[in-house]
């Protein structure tokens, strides 16, 4: 009738681990004359001393309680008097208390292990997100780890970036637009949202019971939402706490990523600026030309964000001396690259013709580069001068470049206006060859707009008038002095204001 217990009983673990203690109690009963002692539940023995089943004998019993619930009965056979029942009640109480304490201890241990698991999982989450360099990867890693960490059937995350970033694990729980719709509610309110299936909302996915939406914050600003779904269960306080902890951690990780991304962009810009500056300064002639009949000075002061200014000299035996000064619209690397191309083409076109005129040079460079300029929405203003020492003549053509200033010895400086549109504006160059006598004492200053457009703290530009006056007043000094005075005067004028544009200048003076 009574058989050994087969189902898992609340006392089973206790009886296994404390068999010795219970055996002592049983043995004391047997020693005092009892024929058998045992613990039963639902008509089955959990433990019995001696192990042979007892039949037909009358015995006393007392209930063992766990948390005020009767879970088993203590039996003793051979006696059934009042003192036996009293002693048995005391034993039942002791066993119940001992078992209760043991179960509590086991539960505490289990919780501790689980808490440790969660801590480890949080650590894993941090590690796994830390190694991701892109927001997409970090978000995917987040939903994967959270899916493991907080028991849920699906996990999604939404970051309100432009465009939004979405990750769903193990598979999409709802459409991206439904997720976005819910996430934006949380972002607007800034507080957690729990949606139960009883709530009539059209975006609740079929088969889901509960959705938990927890905001992800960076600097008190909600940047996204973590969304957890359960099919059967609702989310309870420990789940909510853990999810909050995960989102705090994720927020910190995203903040780091955003900062990193920002610094990466900064570094890229910095690198590009450095590179553009290197390209520009290294392509400028490293030494001044030695030209019969001319005193030459040249200099360039690149702005923080480098533009596309350049100058160049070409000396070939038996050929006239050629100087070029130009400015590519735009700034940074694109301008520096086009500047390098334009300068190289100007050199090669000069060499590929026999005594090319300035218009030959500018026209062929325009033909060659028109498409590139169009593609990049840029153009270049270029001045080409060709000095013939024997004739004492300066031939030139000017594709939209200014300021180019000519000051005859003892006279007043005037602008040598451009005769054609800049390179890259029209499919065919409209430049014309010009010529001026260039005698001893005559000065030509070919500069870039960084001089006349230099501004002062009142927002006033230096302008052409001041520039012409300056050249007139310094034309009697050597080329180097004229140039130095130009740079110094502009620097004084725009004192306290950042230099917006490159300042590049070539000065030639007849000697």
């Amino acid at each position: 009738m009574i058989a050994a217990a087969e189902t898992v009983h609340p006392l089973k673990d206790f009886l296994t681990s404390n068999r010795k203690t219970v055996s002592v109690i049983a043995q004391t009963w047997l020693d005092s004359g009892a024929t058998a002692f045992g613990i039963s539940s639902d008509g089955m023995w959990l433990a019995l001393w001696p192990e042979t089943p007892v039949t037909g004998e009358q015995g006393a019993h007392s209930s063992v309680r766990l948390n005020n619930q009767i879970v088993a009965d203590l039996w003793v056979f051979g006696f059934n008097d009042a003192s036996t029942r009293c002693r048995l009640d005391a034993d039942a109480l002791v066993i119940g208390n001992l078992a209760g304490q043991e179960i509590e201890l086991n539960n505490a241990t289990y919780e501790l292990i689980e808490a440790q698991d969660q801590l480890l999982a949080l650590y894993d989450l941090t590690q796994s997100m830390r190694n991701r360099l892109s927001i997409d990867e970090a978000l995917t890693s987040l939903v994967r780890e959270v899916g493991r960490l907080v028991k849920s059937n699906a996990c999604s995350a939404y970051l309100a970036f432009d465009p939004p970033v979405i990750a769903q694990y193990p598979q999409p729980m709802m459409s991206a637009s439904a997720l976005q719709h819910m996430a934006e509610q949380v972002i607007d309110s800034g507080t957690r949202l729990v949606v139960n299936s009883g709530v009539p909302v059209d975006y609740m996915p079929v088969g889901m019971t509960t959705i938990l939406l927890e905001p992800i914050r960076v600097d008190d600003h909600v940047i996204g939402v973590l969304c957890l779904q359960r099919v059967q269960d609702t989310f309870k306080s420990p789940d909510l706490k853990l999810t909050r902890a995960v989102c705090d951690q994720a927020g910190a990780q995203f903040e780091n990523l955003l900062l990193y991304r920002e610094s990466l962009v900064q570094t890229r810009i910095q690198t590009e600026m450095e590179l553009a500056k290197t390209v520009q300064t290294h392509l400028l002639p490293q030494r001044l030309p030695n030209v019969a009949g001319l005193d030459v000075a040249a200099g360039a002061l690149p702005a923080l964000q480098v533009g596309g200014d350049f100058y160049d000299f070409m000396e070939q035996p038996g050929e006239p001396f050629i100087l070029t000064v130009g400015d590519i619209t735009g700034k940074g690397m694109p301008a520096a690259m086009l500047m390098a191309m334009t300068r190289t083409l100007l050199r090669s076109k000069t060499r590929s013709f026999v005594r090319p005129s300035p218009v030959d040079i500018l026209g062929s460079v325009n033909d060659e580069m028109y498409d590139d300029f169009t593609e990049l929405s840029m153009f270049a203003t270029v001045f080409v001068g060709q000095y013939d020492h024997a004739e004492k003549v300066l031939y030139y053509a000017n594709a939209g470049h200014s300021p180019v200033i000519f000051c005859p010895a003892g006279g007043e400086a005037t602008l040598l206006e451009a005769d054609g549109a800049p390179l890259g504006v029209l499919p065919n160059s409209t430049c014309e060859n010009q010529a001026i006598y260039f005698n001893p004492g005559d000065v030509l200053v070919a500069a870039t707009d960084g001089f006349n457009e230099a501004g002062n703290s009142q927002g006033e530009m230096f302008g052409y008038e001041r520039l012409l006056e300056l050249v007139t007043n310094t034309a009697h000094t050597p080329a180097q002095t004229i140039m130095d005075t130009l740079f110094q005067t502009i620097a004084q004028f725009s004192a306290g204001r950042a230099q917006d544009d490159d300042q590049t200048v070539v000065v030639i003076k007849g000697v």
């Binding site: 400015d327 735009g330 929405s377 602008l415 549109a421 800049p422 029209l426 457009e453």
Partner: protein
């Protein structure tokens, strides 16, 4: 800079005010991209309210002009103030653009 736009007889007209520099050129550039998508692309830029142009502004206009010409049309300019006209003359962009004294003349030139 402020950009106000209208369309008259299939000609897109952009009217600008104030400084026309790198900071503001992108606004015009976006508008030019949209109006030069059709063929023929006919555009008038009324610059009577513009007091300053820089090189980025000029390259935006050049880009728009090229695009309109590719689309069998043109981008013409009208109403240049003296100091802005000087920039067009110094850079010889007055040779590249069709420049008119006012909007009515520009409209007649395009129709």
């Amino acid at each position: 800079m402020e950009l106000s736009t209208k369309t008259t007889n299939h000609i897109a007209i952009g009217e600008m005010q104030g400084r026309f520099d790198a900071l503001e050129a992108s606004k015009l550039s976006t508008w030019l991209d949209s109006v030069s998508a059709q063929s023929p692309a006919q555009v008038i830029i009324n610059m009577s309210g513009v007091t300053f142009v820089d090189s980025t502004a000029l390259s935006t206009l050049v880009k728009g002009m090229k695009r309109c010409r590719q689309q069998n049309g043109d981008l013409v300019i009208c109403g240049l103030q003296k100091q802005v006209k000087v920039i067009f003359e110094l850079t010889r962009l007055d040779k590249a653009f069709s420049i008119h004294p006012d909007e009515a003349t520009a409209l007649r030139a395009l129709t």
